[in-house]
Structure formats: C-alpha cells, structure tokens
C-alpha cells in the first residue's frame, strides 16, 4: 500500500513540477475517463448494505473554458453489513448516467463541481427484509460532488472526487451515500 501511495505521489509531483509536459491552450478537452469508486452508504439502506465498490467508464465532451458534458456507465457491487448473516446475497448496479462538470479554472490543477444523474439498473437476489427474491429494478440516480483534476500531461490526467448520492430505491430506504473516486483520464 505504501508503495502505491508513494508511486502516486511521485507521478503527481512529477507531472505538476516538470515543465517538460508542455501546456496547450486549454486543458479542457474531450476525454475518456476511467474511475474506481468506494461508497459509504447512509440511512436505512446502509443497515443492510453498508458499503459498495466498483468502477465507472465514461466519455466526456468539453465546452471550454469551464464545462464538461459527461456520459458514463459502470459496475457497482454492494457489500452486506458485517453482522448480517445472509449467504450469497448480492445487490449490484449498472449505472447509465449523464451530467456535467463545472471547472473553476483551466490550468494544471482544476477543481470542479459535478452533477450527474440517470438510471440505475439494479440486480438483487434479496430484499431489505432479508427475503430471497431475484429482481431487476430501474431507478433514478442522482449525484453531486466536488473534485480535482490534475493534468499530468496534455493528454493524461488524474481525477480525485467526493460525491453525495441520493439514488432512488425504496421510499423508506433510499440508496444514499458518500462516494470517493479516483480516476484517470485520456484526452482524445
């Protein structure tokens, strides 16, 4: 773990400091973005499914100098709370989402505000009451957050983000939570 952290810091430092990575007019460009995520669920939903992990892959269209239109999909797998004794329970989600980012600056370090929404295709084999039942649901997803894009080169960037989500699931158990993401982007 320490090696990974050190390597990450080295990459970030190198990309930020060395001028050999020449800058173009704008860092805001069309991008492919691949992100890993970790979710801490909240509320009644979290009493059963406490955390989640997964990945997004998406394509983004730039509208200089501040805006990015994002489309993404991915895979998210929820984890049961430790004290829940249910075998083979699973709740996985495939998100289909569209949204945008507002970048406050157009520079090597670009803080942003992000909103994204769409549909979650939810596959579950157990409900919140613990009853076994294979079911596929389609529910609205809603997420807002902030983050930082670090442009290591003209064509390669690292993203860090923290988001709050309030996805629909059940009236008394919405799929709310805080999400932390780490991603890499490639300019096309």
């Amino acid at each position: 773990m320490k090696k990974v952290l050190l390597l990450t810091l080295l990459v970030l430092y190198t990309g930020t400091v060395f001028p050999s990575f020449a800058q173009t007019d704008s860092y805001l460009k069309n991008r492919i973005l691949v992100e890993g995520l970790y979710l801490r669920n909240l509320g009644n939903f979290s009493q059963v499914w406490s955390t989640a992990a997964g990945a997004y892959v998406g394509y983004s269209i730039a509208f200089p100098a501040h805006n990015l239109l994002m489309m993404r999909t991915g895979f998210i797998s929820n984890s049961l709370r430790d004290n829940t004794e249910i075998e083979d329970a699973s709740l996985t989600i495939i998100p289909l989402e569209i949204g945008g980012r507002y970048y406050f600056t157009d520079s090597r370090l670009m803080p942003f505000f992000q909103f994204i929404n769409g549909l979650n295709i939810i596959f579950e084999n157990i409900n919140l009451e613990g009853e076994k039942e294979d079911k596929t649901l389609v529910k609205y997803s809603w997420q807002v957050g902030v983050g930082l894009t670090i442009n290591l080169t003209d064509n390669f960037n690292v993203d860090l983000g923290a988001n709050y989500q309030s996805n629909f699931y059940e009236k008394e158990a919405m799929n709310t939570g805080f999400e932390y993401v780490f991603g890499i982007g490639f300019t096309l």
């Binding site: 909240l42 909103f115 629909f168």
Partner: protein
C-alpha cells in the same frame, strides 16, 4: 418548499408592465393571433410575424415613444453622451455575488417561517433546522411531498426563477444558470427545511425555474432602457426590477441604474406581441360524460409572444407565455409557457426540428363540500417538460399557410388527479414522469389563425405515494376565430379533456370533461 405564494406578486408585475406599455403605446393596429388554445396543456402559439411587412410593422410599432424612429426604445440622450465603453455588469462573471444572492434567497423564506410566521404547534415549524435534520435529510434522501397544487406548481418555479437569475444576471449564460437554479433548489431541499427533500420540488423549482427565470430575464432586459434618462429611465428600471428583482438588485449594486450605455442588441426581439382575451368558459365538472354538471365562468387571459420561432437560434430567443384568471374558483387557473432551447432549420424556414422547454399550470379543480366529505371536481394538470417537435409551414395560398407541429411530450415531472387519495397537506394529485404526443395544426392568414386543432396526450407513471397507479390523459381542442377589425377578433373553441386512470388496488376511473369557450381577443402590443 411550502412557503411562497407569489401569484398576486406576479399578477401585479404583469399588470404593471401591461399598463406601462399601454400608456405609452396606443398605435398598434396589427394583430397576430399567437395563441391557439386557451387552457391547453401547453402554450402552442404560432409565430408568423416574419410574414409581415417589416417596414409597416416598424411604422406601426409601439415603441416606448410614439415619435421614435426606432423600433425599440427611446433615446432621449444625444448618442454622443452614451458611454459606449461602459462595461456592463453581465459582461463578467460574479460568482461570489451570485452565491451571496442565493444565500439571501434561501434566508428570506426560511427566516419568515422561523421568526415571523405564527405556528399553533411550534413543533410544526419546518424551519427549525439543525445539523441533526441536515444529516437526517442526507441519510434518508428524496421523497415526494404533499403540498397543494399552487405551491408545488407555481410558488416553487417562481422561487427557482430567482435562483436562476442569481446566475443569469451575474454574467452566466443560460445553460450555466440552470446549474444555479438546480443547486439553489437542492440546497433548500436538503438544508432549508426539516422535511425530507422533495424530488418533485427539486424538478419544479430547478427546471420550472429555468423556464420562468429566462422569461423574466428577457422581459426585464426588454423593458429596461439604458439609453433613457429622467422619468423614462426611472420607470423602465422600476418595471424591470418588478419583473426580475434579482436583476434589479444587481443593476442597483453595480451602478448600472445610473449609467447611460447602449442596450444589448439581443434584448430587443424581432417580434413581440401581447394579446388579451375576455370571454366565458363552460366546463363539465363531474366528468361523467353527461355534460349536466357544467359550470360557466368568466375567463380573462394575458398572452405574450417573444421573438420569432422560425428564426430562433439561442435559448428562449423565442418563447410564449399565457396567464389566465377565472371568475370562479380557483381564480388563478392557467399559466403556460414554452421556450425554444435549440433546434435545426431543415428546409429554409419551412421545416424545423426544435426542442422546447415547457411549463404548464392548469388548475380547473373545484372543491365541493358536503356534510360528510370534500369532493374534488374538475381536473388539473401541471408539468415541466421537454418538447422535441417538427415545426412545418405549408403554403396553401398567397397569404395563407398551414402551420403544423408534431412532437413528443417528454414530461420530467407531471401532476394529474388521483381519485382515491388526499394528502394531509392538501395534495389531491399524483406526481410522475411521462411521455406522449402532441399534434397541432392551424390555418393562418396573415396575422390570423382562422382555425386551429390541438391534441395533447401523455402517459404519467405515478412515483409519489401511493405509487400504485398510472394515468393516460388527453386534451383535444378545436378553435375558430374571425377578425372583426384588424386588431379585434371573436372566436370560440370546443374541446374535451379526458383521463383514464389505472389503479392496482382500486377500480379504474375514466373522466371526461367537455370544455367550451367564447371569447373576444384584442392585440395590446404588436412590435
């Protein structure tokens, strides 16, 4: 959000603007029937201004001064005294000013509820927020609330229009300002009330606010004349501020109210029309197909068309807006608008593929009290929706055109009655997204629509509790009118609203509400 009732305020704005225009503009004799169908689920006006002889229109136009040679406004200062180098407030972004204004707009209604409003049971005070209620709201997430139709479908969009203008009048463009409306609304929903955040509020405030916000932004910019001075200037600033208080505030703090500089070119549209209707409406209340429980009432409608829909390129360069008051209850019965978002000219202004943002408020539901119960008769329909459509114009004579629309009603959030449910807070209707079709056809001759046909249909899938229903609604109207003079017409319309509601736990319901109208229509302003 349960706090704003601004109908009187809005009505005052509109009347003031209308009055101001009337006082200074009395020579308009060209009339264009922009409004097809009163009480329709969408304003569906056809703008055929471009058919007019523009030079005649210029001469007859009702600018702010009769002796003005310009189509718009009155320059009562010598041009050399205008400060051409003046940098307007909106030419630069003012992020923190906008944030401060959002905070003020959140604080005022919250403070009124917290400290001014009298609560019989203080525990009901939804403004008693704390870190605990914030965390609870974040943890529990969205729900659908139980507010009445007026609060959810009018007060919230108006509040959203103010949020929108915190961005729009601080240098942000239309699309960027949508984020201000949605963010302002989300902040209120999660942190301004003890209630769980209401998803329907967020849509109506955020998206409905964009629609009303851009309309008030453009109307305010139109009536404000930067080149005027003296009392002309004072009144133009007052009217502009009444229409859009946030813009007026920014003009005050930036000093623009006291500067003379050119008006932005976009602020004076190619075409602009206001019409007024007075007449009667007959509606069958119980919806049982017999047309025996009908109610006749007076109906007064204000209609506005901004821009030319066949020329629009930027968001809301064309929009239409109507506002209706009835003599019977509820008095505030309709408010519909439709604004151009983006589109493509397919065939030299004969065929266009456009996408509009629509807002609909149609409240024709009547409460009837019996000894044991309260009955809700009539119907209502509200929505904020996207409307992609094909707009076409087919010449059928030297001056006559058949203008058609065929499109999809993409309802982001719709409201339609539930026959079995009354919420403790007053909601008698269901919320949900929907989709349907809209077909419009009108025969136009010069400035008149002689005959028009309108159909609106939509499925709405209920998402609010109880979410055990779906609704299929239809509205069909045929309208005809005849011009008695060049600026005055008489007409009638006959239509029917019908609804098929399907419930999982109760018997299905079908309602039919025939509607008839007779009206006189006059053009107040035509530029």
């Amino acid at each position: 959000m349960k706090h704003i009732h601004n109908s009187k305020l809005i009505l005052t704005f509109i009347l003031l603007v209308t009055t101001s225009q009337l006082n200074s503009q009395s020579n308009s004799y060209s009339y264009f029937n922009s409004k097809l169908l009163e009480n329709s689920n969408s304003v569906i006006s056809f703008n055929n201004h471009e058919l007019k002889n523009t030079s005649v229109a210029f001469q007859n136009s009702l600018a702010f001064k009769n002796n003005s040679n310009q189509k718009w406004g009155s320059v009562n200062l010598p041009p050399e005294l205008l400060n051409d180098d003046f940098k307007s407030w909106e030419s630069e972004k003012h992020f923190w000013i906008g944030v401060g204004e959002i905070a003020i707009l959140e604080f005022i209604p919250w403070a009124l509820a917290k400290w001014i409003r009298h609560w019989e049971d203080p525990a009901d005070n939804w403004a008693n927020v704390s870190s605990d209620t914030w965390w609870r709201n974040l943890s529990n997430g969205w729900e659908y609330d139980g507010d009445n139709f007026e609060t959810n479908n009018f007060a919230h969009p108006y509040h959203g229009a103010l949020f929108f203008n915190a961005g729009r009048t601080n240098g942000y463009d239309f699309w960027e300002s949508t984020a201000w409306a949605l963010t302002g609304s989300a902040i209120w929903e999660f942190f301004g009330e003890t209630f769980r955040p209401a998803f329907n509020d967020w849509i109506y405030t955020g998206v409905g606010g964009v629609n009303l916000g851009e309309i008030t932004y453009r109307l305010s910019s139109m009536v404000t004349d930067n080149t005027a001075s003296g009392s002309d200037r004072m009144w133009s600033e007052i009217f502009g501020t009444l229409i859009n208080p946030v813009r007026g505030f920014n003009r005050a703090i930036s000093g623009e109210m006291g500067q003379n500089f050119p008006n932005p070119e976009w602020s004076r549209p190619d075409d602009f029309l206001i019409t007024f209707e007075a007449g009667t409406r007959s509606i069958d209340k119980d919806g049982d197909k017999t047309y025996t429980d009908r109610e006749v009432e007076g109906l007064f409608t204000f209609n506005l068309i901004y821009g030319n829909r066949f020329k629009a390129k930027k968001p809301f360069e064309y929009f239409n807006f109507n506002f209706g008051l009835a003599s019977g209850l509820p008095h505030f019965t309709t408010m519909n608008s439709s604004g151009f978002l983006f589109g493509y000219d397919l065939d030299n202004k004969k065929h266009r593929l456009d996408v509009n943002l629509d807002f609909n408020y149609n409240n024709l539901i009547k409460e009837q009290y019996t000894e044991i119960d309260t009955l809700y008769k009539g119907f209502l329909f509200g929505s904020t929706q996207i409307y992609p459509h094909l707009l076409s114009r087919f010449p059928i004579g030297s001056k006559t055109n058949l203008v058609t629309q065929f499109g999809v009603n993409g309802i982001l959030m719709g409201a339609t009655p539930n026959d079995y449910y009354v919420d403790v807070e007053g909601r008698v209707y269901d919320f949900g997204p929907g989709v349907g079709t809209r077909i419009v056809a009108a025969i136009q001759n010069g400035i008149w629509n002689y005959v028009s046909l309108f159909y609106y249909g939509a499925w709405i899938w209920t998402q609010s509790e109880p979410s055990d229903s779906k609704h299929h609604i239809h509205y069909l109207v045929l309208e005809a009118q005849y011009p008695l003079t060049s600026y005055f017409s008489v007409g009638f319309s006959a239509g029917i609203y019908w609804r098929n509601s399907y419930y999982e736990n109760f018997p299905d319901v079908t309602k039919n509400h025939p509607i008839g109208r007779f009206f006189f229509r006059t053009a107040i302003i035509d530029i």
